[in-house]
Every structure is written in structure tokens, then in C-alpha cells.
Amino acid sequence: MHIFKRAALAATIAALCSSDSWADTIKVGVIAEFSGPFAMYGKQYREAVETYVAKHGTQAGEHTIEFIYKDVGGSNPDVAKTLAQELLIREEVDYLAGFTFTPNALAVAPLIDQSETPTVIFNAATSSINKGSQYFLRTSYTLPQVTAPLADWTFDQGIKTVVTAVSDYGPGIDAEKAFKAAFEKKGGKVVDAIRMPVATTDFTPFIQRVRSQNPNAVFAFLPGGPPTFGFTKTYNENGLAKSGIRFLGTAETEESNLQALGDAAIGLTTAFHYSAAHDSDVAREFNKAIKDKFPNAITNWASVGAYDGTHLIYEMVKAAGSDGPKALEAVKALKWESPRGPVEMDPQTRTVKQNVYIRGVERDTVSGLLVNREKGVIATVGDLGWTQ
């Protein structure tokens, strides 16, 4: 009896001392936009995370996972840093996630390095972020990852001359350079590179300029929402499609604003890693699970980035609990079947390697809605911008 009592006491003490043994709670801090003009991202992330949790439970291995959401409101590096500090110190989170904008991710790099906190980027697509800290993991994509394969594919289609038209800001210029480099390497010619002010509301002058050069295609890069809407509308209304100038893009036809583009979007060609119309059981299951839980939800690349990011966090927690370096090691070459298709972590860049698909916008015959129909895989690539 005496021995039994002692054993029980020892077990209790052991449980209290070793924080990452069994039945503890591992907290994950999600820093994203839940208010303001970019609140769509926060909503997409949250729906995806909650759908994953509903499907897999709050238990990962021996640990319970809890998500804490913090609103960063937009591209606010200072706020992102403060929130990360608050989460790490006061809430004692073991993992961070979210991050729509590059500056927000870069701002937390020193913190996660110091605290050895694995941080899963759901969106921010600038290649160099992952060089900022070895604790960054990325389940979205990088701009060169989709742009360079598109340029190669374009040339192979017999398109020899292209005008690039990009919004005049960081990602736009990156896309322009990546496209131009890959396209000219193949032997194609970028006849004009137009940079459009971010505040542009009427795109007609730029579209007329494209038209007057009469290229085989126009490669565009614009932030989602009103600029994409304006550009694609103007592209169609000014008869570029009719005169045989093809539209090439990447994220422009993303699902959350696709229906708003209307019939003007039909026939637009894009290269991207995720389409809600991806033809696989995992994709259909994912769409159904999210719609069962959130009837008005629309899945787009932000949803799949968060969904796969949550998967990665679960795998890390399962393997290593709250031990950051061990967690990184455990998933550095993880492979899984994502709703976007097969993916795997690249041990060097810590960004997912994935298929890039060539898609055309079509009206689905069953639902009557516009979809990004995948016409083929153009490449399976890692982060092509890593060595630049």
C-alpha cells in the first residue's frame, strides 16, 4: 500500500514537471487579417483550420491543439511583431501560422529564430522570406514557382511575343522579371513591359497600348479584387480576345472573386497551383467538408494554404510536441495528398513542391458557376526563386 501511494505521487510529479509529455495543450497562434479590407484572408484561413480540426479532432498524437487567432489588419509589420511577441510570451504558443503579407512574415523572423518556434506561412509568396529564418515553413507558393512554368508553357504553345502588364508594386515587378527571364531564355520576346500604377481605376489606356503592339499574348499580374476586375473587363470589352491576344495570368481568376468577373472571365488562361475544381477525391471531400460547416464558404488558394498548413502543424505536434527543432526535422520532407494535388516539403527551401496547372475559365455545366478548369499539369516544381 505504501509503495503504491509513493508510485502515484511520483507519477503525478512527473506529469507536472515534464510539460510536453502527455495530455498537454499545444497552442498555435494564427496572425492574419480578420478585419479591414483584407478580412477575406482571415475568414478563408479560419474556415480551413476549423474544417481540418472538425475532421481530425483537437488531438494530435498525445497532445491537444488549440488555435488562437490574432488580427493584424493588413500589411502592418509592427503590429505583426507585437502580436507575435504577445502570443509567444503571454499565451506561450509553440507554433505560429497565418501571414498574408511578406512584410508581416519578415517582421517576426528574429522572434521565431530566438524562440525556436516553427512558423507556417499560409500565403505570403515572396521567395526570400524563408531565408529570414530556418523556422519558416510555407504551404502556399512563391511567385516564380507559378510564373516561370507559365512562361515556358507559353513559348511551347507557339506564342512568341508577349507584352507584360503588371501593377507597379513589389510582387508585380517580381512577376514581370520572373516571366521575362524564363520567356526570353526559351527564345521568346517580351515586346513591352508596362507597369501600371496601383491606384489605376481605368485600365483602358494600358489595354489600348497592349493592343497597338499586337503581341500574341499579354501576361498580367494584378492584386485581387477591383484591379483584376477592371483589367479583365477592359481586356474583353476592347476586343483583345477577339483579335487573338491571349490573356495569361496566375492568381487573377482566384475563386473568391471569380463569379463577380462574370462572362468576361471565360477563356482567360492562368497557371496556378490550386483550383477549387481540381479533379480528385481529396479535393471533393475538402470542398464538401468546408461547405457542410460553412454553407457560404468558397475555397480558394488561401483556404488550401491554411488547410495544408494545419496538416503540417498537426504532423509536427504529433512527432515532436513543443520541441521546435525536432518538429522541423520531422516534417522537412513530408509528403501528402492535398486538395490541390500531391505535395511535398522541400528540405532546402521549406516551401511545398507542387504541381502547377494550366487552367482555363469555364462555366460549369452542372452548377452554372465559373470554374478554373485544369487543362493539364505544366510542371511539378519547388520554389524556383530560391537561388535568384
Binding site: 507597369r195 500604377p197 481605376t201 481605368d202 489606356p205 489600348q208 476586375f229 477592371g230 470589352e237 476592347n238
Partner: protein, 288 residues
């Protein structure tokens, strides 16, 4: 030659859109002298109603647009009674704070009810085609905006300068006490004018949405644009706004054709230069 024609056609089409989206503000801020930063909120309400009526209820465009405008006017009448009537008497800074607060509330409500993605208002087939001008094409809806802009400016000038309502309005704004002691029901005049401004805001929001699409952040995204048109035109002058909108549209379009990289700088530099030399705007009479 074709470049000049392009600039003229696109500039006028764009200028008319600028006029349509800001004419409501010329009425409330210009004529009534209320710093109405909630102008965009009424445009958003109009656009959101048109979106709901056409897409969710499946009613045709030509019925939906008047319904959406009527709905906005009804809401404007209510909010005038409850809120704006009190705001008229406040100082300028308080008006700014109150109306921008209302704008944030409207944004939050629309965001809550309809989400933060684009709220499209699909055009009927008759407006979707493009007209062939010989040397280029012009989308039909831009022609509609140009015609609507001309109709609105003629209608407003006739109403404000020639009608009894216009005389009473100008009297009420110039000196409310004397106007009401002369037997003019100034409360009613103010309410009617405010509703006119809100209705025009809704019309402009809907017609302009092919270029400036409606979403929950519409009022903030384009607030600077509305304010520029009204202040360049001159407070209290509808024809000033009209001239300003066309001039700004043509100048911005020209700069985008000729020096595309500096388009935005040219636009704002011209606005600053003009306001430096004519602080009251092109045709303004100055604030009293």
C-alpha cells in the same frame, strides 16, 4: 491622330464616370454645406442593393436599378431624420468625425451581410456588347454612363436654377432662419435635398461599378476621388463638378497614354497646382 481620338473618347468616358460617382457629393457637400464623408456609404448601399436584387432575387437590371435607388433613398430619409438632421448643426470637424463613423458602420454591416468579396451587378445582354467606332471599339455601358451623365447635369441645373425648389433650397442654405421665417419649410427642403444626394450617390455607384466595382470597402477606397472632383470643381457648383470631372478624366487618361509610369503623379500634381491657385475650385464661390 488616332492617339488623340483615343484620349478624347476614353477621357470623356472616364470623366463621366468620375462625375456620376461624385455628383451626389456635390449636392450634399457642395450645396448643403455638410462635410458628408458618408457619400460613398450611400453609393455602397445602392450597389449592394442592386447586387442583391439582381443576383440573389433574380430580378432584371432595368427594374433592379430603380428599386435599388429607391431603397437607398428610403434609407437616406430615415437616416436623415434620425442622424443627419443633428449633424448639419455641428462644426466641420464634428461633421467629418460623425459621417466617417457612419461610413465605418455601413462598411461593417455590408461586410457582415454580404462578405468582403466583389459584389457584381451583372449587366443585361443589351449593354454587354461593344460599339464599333471605326478606329476602335467602345463598350456600350460607357456610352450609357455618358448619356446618364448628360441627363443628370441638365436635370440638376434645371432643378436648382430654374425651379421653385431650387430657389427655396438656395435660400435655406444661405440663411436658414430668414428662410424659415419667410414660410419655407427648411426641414423638408433639407431632407429632400439630402435624399436627392443619396439617390445620385446610389445611381453613380451602380453605373460606375463596371469600372469601380462595388465591395464593402468601396466608400474608403474611392473617397479621395470623390473629394477631389468636388473640391476641384468648387463647392456649391454642380457645373463646376461636371467640368472638373471631365477635365480630370481627360488629363488622367492622357497622362496614362503618354507617360504611363507617372500617371498617378501627374494627376495629383495637377490637382495640387489648381487648388494652390484657385483654392475655391474651378467655379467655386468659396465656403461661407
Amino acid at each position: 491622330m488616332s492617339l488623340l481620338l483615343n484620349i478624347a473618347v476614353d477621357g470623356i468616358a472616364y470623366g463621366m464616370i468620375l462625375f456620376m460617382i461624385s455628383v451626389g457629393l456635390s449636392v450634399t457637400m457642395g450645396l448643403m454645406r455638410v462635410i458628408n464623408l458618408a457619400h460613398g456609404a450611400f453609393a455602397l448601399v445602392g450597389g449592394a442593393l442592386a447586387h442583391t436584387i439582381t443576383l440573389r432575387w433574380g430580378i432584371g437590371y432595368y427594374v433592379a436599378v430603380p428599386l435599388a435607388i429607391a431603397g437607398t433613398i428610403a434609407l437616406a430619409l430615415l437616416s436623415e431624420r434620425v442622424l443627419f438632421r443633428r449633424i448639419y448643426r455641428l462644426g466641420e470637424l464634428q461633421q467629418v468625425l460623425a459621417t466617417i463613423g457612419i461610413t465605418f458602420m455601413v462598411i461593417a454591416v455590408v461586410n457582415r451581410l454580404l462578405g468582403s468579396s466583389l459584389l457584381s451587378i451583372p449587366l443585361p445582354a443589351s449593354l454587354q456588347h461593344s460599339l464599333d467606332l471605326g478606329f476602335r471599339v467602345l463598350p456600350a455601358h460607357r456610352l450609357v454612363v455618358i448619356l446618364a451623365g448628360i441627363a443628370v447635369i441638365i436635370g440638376l441645373v434645371l432643378t436648382l436654377d430654374r425651379s421653385r425648389f431650387g430657389t427655396r433650397l438656395r435660400a435655406s442654405v444661405d440663411n436658414r432662419n430668414i428662410a424659415s421665417s419667410l414660410g419655407i419649410n427648411t426641414d423638408r427642403i433639407y431632407a429632400a435635398t439630402f435624399c436627392l444626394g443619396a439617390g445620385l450617390a446610389a445611381l453613380g455607384g451602380i453605373l460606375g461599378s463596371e469600372l469601380l466595382p462595388i465591395d464593402a470597402y468601396y466608400p474608403l477606397r474611392y473617397m479621395v476621388l470623390f473629394l477631389i472632383v468636388v473640391s476641384v470643381g468648387g463647392m456649391g457648383s454642380i457645373s463646376g463638378s461636371f467640368a472638373a470631372a471631365l477635365a480630370l478624366g481627360v488629363l488622367e487618361t492622357a497622362s496614362r497614354y503618354l507617360i504611363p509610369d507617372a500617371g498617378t503623379i501627374v494627376f495629383f500634381a495637377l490637382v495640387m497646382a489648381l487648388l494652390a491657385f484657385r483654392p475655391a475650385g474651378l467655379l467655386g464661390k468659396g465656403m461661407t
